[in-house]
Amino acid sequence: MTMSKDIDPIVMAVPAAPLSKRRKGSLAWLLNVRLAIGLAILLIMGLGSLILPFFATVDPSIQSSFMRNMPPSAAHWLGTNSLGQDIFWFLVFAIRNSLALGVLVACGVTLVATIVGLSAGYIGGRFERFVMLIVDTFITIPLLPILIILGALIRGNTSFFTVGIIIIIFGWAWDARTVRSMALSLREREFINMARFSGANTMQIIAREIFPYVSAYMVVGFINVVLFAINTEATLAVIGLSKVEVPTLGSIIFWALNYNALFTGQYVWLVAPIIATVTLFLGLFLTSTGFNQAFASKRGVS
């Protein structure tokens, strides 16, 4: 049920009061154990996968570069697969591509969802009804069947970033709905009323009162969309609907399953991307909850 996960688990945990009394300077309140571990994982994996490819001697996606099915050795840290590719280098490229896709989708989704959700939730009225009509329509269209149809259309024809665009198009609505319901609930809270009574206009309220409140969610939501996007692309790759020749965390698994690695005992081929995926997800998750915790404790301070 990977697909239902973009109802964000952290959204509901957004701090119950604004944290915006901008205290410039020290960011020390941000630091906690989770965040530190999470960021460290992300940094290592992100930078590693960005820098290492420059040192690659061969393009890992080319077949028969080496002997097939070699065990891990000094020359091939994780061995080679049944296609004669180096598993380690394939993995490095895969992490880079998957992360890039995740970040791209997360930017898109967060941007769209926040603008749409916030304005709908706060402005309300006819505007809200219209926007929510669109949002609800997108939500009701089941993602996976649509992706299967679109997969038939796009696969092979374009870069795999098209997959990313499509995930944005069919993925922003959930987040928009969440943001809007937050805004809806915020609209009724005292500090908003207070602002309204003190004569602030709509834009000012959104910008000064609601946005800071929601911004905590945005960081966290962003990270979760990264997770969601990587996972969705991987799901598509595993059922062969993404561009499987491009190394991604999903396409390694596609190939490993295609060559039945589990059954033939080539565990490294399949286990390596799984560990990488889980570690990456752990990094993303710890970062997002770490942020959340930091925001929460910050509020506790103020």
Partner: protein, 333 residues
């Protein structure tokens, strides 16, 4: 104060969503690079190659286009599609399995999908929320971190990996469950029901584990946040017991968004169905959708997607209608 007016508006929105959804459903398969007639003819060719002459194929092609109602322009097809779906709830015949009606195919598969996925989603929700509540309410205790760790561990594992690992573990290394279940047919007896239940356990467990992590994490986060609300502090000062505070104050309030999540994820079972049914050879609507997409069987796709659109839209409607009852903060002007 128009409660009725609110309800009417919401239902209006619901209908509009359905209409737009149906239209998109109609358009999308037509963008597919597959001519549905080819799907059927390809099937015939693959089993009769060498004996099927060109003339025979040409004759079949003409007949099929006639039978499938594909020979008008797109607009005519759209109007007749809307009419059929809205008035008769009829999706016409399957193209690949002509003349079998789509509604019959879907109705056969639906109980399997709903039975497995609804149950699993609900169990995952209940269990996850209980664990999450405990972990969240006692979030300062070490034991709570262990519970949360369980969630952290389960949540990021991609579903198909979880599924294949469990299959390997529980059906091959320890062959407790069948690798490829055989579902009994004919008159149902308690023994046969037992077989069905038993055969559904492995996909069920996988689904529960997959949904479990998310529920733990979100409930925990909610519970932590709620625990710090002033009214909980007030309750503590008032001398309410731990149990009372956890259940009456924290749980009731934290539950609200979780109910939304549950209702929405009930609608999303159609997504989960696909992978589950592929991996576990489980009969259901996901497999039908997959076959339909590969063969360009528009009518079956319409049927399956329309059904899930209706399910999700209805779930959304129900939430919006009952939400004001649950959350007094949202009033309707």
């Amino acid at each position: 104060m128009g409660v009725l007016r609110y309800v009417a508006k919401r239902i209006g929105l619901y209908l509009a969503v359905l209409f737009i959804g149906l239209t998109i459903t109609f358009m999308l398969p037509r963008l597919m690079p597959i001519n549905p007639v080819d799907g059927y003819i390809g099937q015939l060719q693959s089993r009769a190659n060498g004996t099927l002459t060109s003339e025979a194929i040409a004759e079949m092609r003409t007949n099929l286009e006639q039978l499938y109602g594909l020979n008008g322009n797109v607009f005519t097809q759209y109007v007749s599609y809307l009419k059929r779906v809205v008035v008769d709830f009829d999706f016409g015949p399957s193209f690949t399995y002509y003349p079998q009606p789509v509604s019959a195919m879907i109705l056969n598969a639906l109980p399997w999908t709903l039975g497995l996925l609804l149950t699993a989603t609900f169990i995952a929700w209940v269990l996850g929320n209980m664990v999450g509540l405990v972990a969240g309410y006692f979030h300062k205790k070490r034991a709570a971190s262990i519970l949360e760790f369980l969630g952290i561990l389960l949540y990021p594992i991609p579903y198909y990996i979880l599924a294949i690992t469990l299959l390997l573990l529980l059906a091959y290394i320890f062959p407790v469950f069948p690798l490829s279940p055989t579902f009994p047919v004919g008159q149902m007896t308690p023994e046969k029901l037992g077989m069905i239940f038993y055969n559904s356990l492995l996909p069920g467990i996988t689904l529960v584990l997959a949904g479990f992590g998310w529920n733990i994490l979100s409930m925990k986060a909610l519970a932590v946040a709620t625990t710090e609300e002033p009214y909980v502090t007030y309750a503590r000062l008032k001398g309410a017991s731990n149990w009372t505070r956890m259940m009456r104050y924290v749980f009731r309030n934290a539950l609200l968004p979780q109910v939304t999540a549950l209702a929405l994820s009930l609608g999303m079972v159609f997504n989960g169905a696909l992978l589950t049914e592929m991996i576990f050879s489980y009969p259901g609507i996901g497999l039908i959708m997959r076959t339909a997409a590969t063969g360009g069987d528009y009518n079956v796709l319409y049927g399956a997607i329309t059904l899930s659109i209706i399910a999700v839209a209805t779930a959304g409607l129900v939430i919006d209608l009952i939400y004001p009852l649950l959350d007094p903060r949202i009033r309707h002007k």
